[in-house]
């Protein structure tokens, strides 16, 4: 007993000494690394309604940074991820923390458009290099654009507009019904779709709106069944999208009515992985597709890592890292040269897994290829198959 005690005590002293020694050696090493390293902050939604999307986005950027060996343009990269709970005030708090407390060199992320709009002034005042990975309200590329805020993602208009073109040209100019989630994004998608579709000579019939978070689509689906439209244009996201598609199938409407939607309605990871064959035959316009040529290698790696093909948010996280990498390499890692970085980033397109991406110098908004995806059966289950590509779609920007 005493023997054991003695050993323990001796070990304790030894361990204590070793720790102190390591501390003496280690501390300066760590401090040195911090000087040369570069900090990227990412704010995404890890709890609340977008938790699943946020985890995918975080995994996307981590995956890219691991591929780069956590080093870009000769500088070590430190990633700090924060949760905004999809709430604007929480997002503002986290951006202030990253910029003021953690002294990050670059801030990125954001899924919710409301958060993106709320943090706009915070990052603009701080003159922080900002990369918005997914928030896509049209205003972000228009009135709320800001000199150092880059937008390597789509705007809602880019998807609604291309869906309008596709519907008028390839589906039908009559027998259209729209149904959308009754909040800012839903109104934008449907509004932009209707504007383009009618400008192309299409006529829109009934327009239905369901409150955000609608649990029971039964009454609306019964209404659709009685109208029997030729096709519907729809925007729902997340759990609303899952419920809408599943209930469409419950009411046997998925075989009778063609569904065209915004990308989020048929998101590969968030929606299709859950509703499976209820999504078959659906069409959507999206800046991302797991089957796009640019995404092939990434899709396979993502599938191996997470067991599911990538949706928009996982891809957006990865693309954010790709764009940051291009921006840093074009200034040799000198993140302080913000004007130079901006000039060089806007000068040439970046190859991303979304597809080729160039930036609009008026608002730093990405000009992107928009894919028309059809959900078809594949070896990995139902998948977004590219059937057409609208090349270089550009938001009207500040003039709209």
């Amino acid at each position: 007993m005493t023997m054991k005690d003695a050993i323990t005590r001796r070990r304790l002293i030894a361990a204590g000494g070793a720790t102190a020694f390591a501390g003496m050696l280690g501390a300066p090493l760590i401090a040195k690394a911090a000087n040369g390293s570069l900090r990227i902050g990412m704010v995404t939604s890890l709890s609340g309604p977008f938790a699943g999307l946020g985890e995918a986005m975080r995994d996307g950027i981590v995956m890219a940074l691991e591929e780069y060996g956590n080093e870009i343009a000769g500088r070590r990269i430190e990633l700090i991820v924060e949760d905004d709970q999809a709430k604007p005030d929480e997002g503002v708090r986290k951006f202030r923390k990253l910029i003021g407390q953690d002294n990050v060199d670059i801030v990125s992320g954001v899924i919710s458009s409301a958060v993106a709009l709320a943090v706009r002034d915070v990052v603009t005042e701080a003159e922080a290099l900002t990369f918005i990975s997914a928030g896509s309200a049209n205003a972000l590329a228009r009135d709320a654009a800001s000199p150092l805020v880059f937008r390597p993602t789509k705007t809602n208009w880019m998807l609604g507009h291309t869906a309008g073109l596709w519907a008028a040209e390839k589906i039908s100019k009559t027998g259209c019904l729209t149904i959308g989630a009754d909040y800012a994004a839903g109104r934008e998608y449907i509004g932009d779709f209707v504007e383009t579709y009618t400008a192309q000579g299409g006529a829109v019939g009934q327009q239905l709106w369901a409150p955000l978070g609608t649990t029971d689509f039964g009454p609306l689906l019964t209404a659709i069944a009685s109208v029997q439209p030729e096709f519907i244009y729809s925007f729902f996201a997340g759990s609303d999208a899952v419920r809408f598609l599943r209930q469409m199938k419950d009411y046997r409407l998925h075989e009778k009515v063609k569904v065209l939607g915004g990308g989020a309605l048929f998101d590969q990871e968030d929606v299709i992985a859950t509703v499976k064959d209820a999504a078959l035959g659906g069409l959507n316009t999206c800046n991302q597709s797991p089957t796009a040529p640019a995404s092939q290698a990434f899709s396979a790696a993502y599938l191996a890592r997470r067991g599911v093909l990538p949706g928009e948010m996982g891809t957006a996280g990865y693309v954010t890292a790709q764009v940051i990498k291009a921006a840093l390499e074009r200034v040799g890692g000198d993140v302080a040269a913000k004007d130079q970085l901006k000039e060089n980033l806007l000068a040439l397109p970046v190859d991303t897994v979304f597809g080729p991406m160039s930036f609009d110098p008026r608002n730093n908004q990405a000009i992107l290829d928009i894919y028309v995806n059809e959900i078809t059966e594949s070896a990995d289950g139902p998948v977004n198959q590219v059937i057409h590509t609208y090349q270089g779609v550009q938001d009207p920007g500040p003039t709209a």
Partner: protein, 289 residues
């Protein structure tokens, strides 16, 4: 004609979901005067358990009793600690306790079941449609209507017509008097809380086929349950059923006529009820001494 028939069926199935969600909460609130905000967690737990069960290949119909038992067991443990210590505290303390617990459970479930949206794989027999003239109506929703009606009848029978129900009702009226009869009211309360949590789990299992399961569903369902209970009034079984029907039909038919307003309609009814009949649709008869 068939359009409105199907809409009535839609309203009935939605009402049943509301009723199932509200029942467990109402039972605990009226019997124990205990505000249990973990009720949404019971619902979500039941939903996840049934989805897991239906995906496992075991006999599908067992999914519902299994979900009931899982949530009831969780309720049983919670009642022992810490609910029991809070029965005599103020409502505010109970709200703080159970809300805190529900946040913890939400995180635990996100960790255990993942943040992805999950949907059950319904058995063949429940996944078809029937046609009312030419309008389709899913069989699963018929199943919900029938299951809900049977469950409501059974509960009403137990509470209103059996000796066990009489004991529970007596506990509500005068707990000490029941104890003088030699009955252990602590145990009765434990059973009531466990059964109420089980009901939450069972409604989650049934609801998952329509709603799916995902982080955040617990909160959504809790709010609906609270609205049902507030409109229906405390302490009456009939009140919960009536209020679920009223809300279900109102929300369904506002969706038919002015879909944007369907949530507003539910809240407007609640506000109106609070103003004109704060006791709820069916008020418990209280004898003033």
């Amino acid at each position: 004609m068939s359009f409105y028939l199907v809409q009535i069926l839609n309203a009935l199935s939605f009402s049943m979901l509301l009723m199932l969600t509200g029942l467990g909460l109402s039972v605990v609130l009226s019997l124990l005067n205990f505000v249990n905000l973990t009720h949404g967690s019971s619902f979500l737990l039941g939903a996840y358990v049934s989805i897991w069960w239906l995906g496992s290949g075991a006999p599908w119909w067992l999914a519902f009793p299994v979900a009931f038992l899982a949530s009831a067991l969780a309720g049983l443990v919670l009642e022992r600690f810490p609910f029991r210590q809070f029965y005599t505290r103020t409502h505010l303390m109970q709200v703080l306790l159970t809300y805190g617990l529900s946040v913890i459970f939400a995180d635990l479930m996100r960790w255990g079941f993942g943040a992805q949206i999950a949907s059950p794989e319904l058995p063949e027999i429940l996944s078809g449609v029937i046609f009312v003239f030419d309008m389709p109506f899913p069989i699963y929703r018929l199943f919900i209507i029938v299951f809900g009606a049977v469950l409501a009848l059974a509960l009403w029978f137990v509470i209103d017509r059996t000796i066990w129900g009489a004991v529970v009702r007596a506990c509500v009226t005068d707990r000490r008097f029941v104890e003088t009869l030699g009955l252990d009211t602590k145990r009765i309360f434990t059973i009531v809380v466990a059964v109420a949590a089980g009901l939450g789990g069972l409604s989650g299992a049934l609801g998952a086929g329509v709603l799916s399961a995902y982080p955040g569903l617990d909160e959504e369902q809790l709010i609906l349950a609270l609205i049902v209970v507030v409109v229906g009034g405390l302490g009456t079984f009939r009140g919960t059923v009536l209020s679920a029907l009223l809300l279900g039909f109102t929300m369904t038919f506002t969706k038919v006529w002015i879909p944007e307003m369907s949530n507003v309609a539910a809240l407007a009814i609640m506000a109106l009820m609070l103003v004109i009949a704060p006791q709820g649709l069916v008020a418990r008869k209280v004898r003033q001494v």
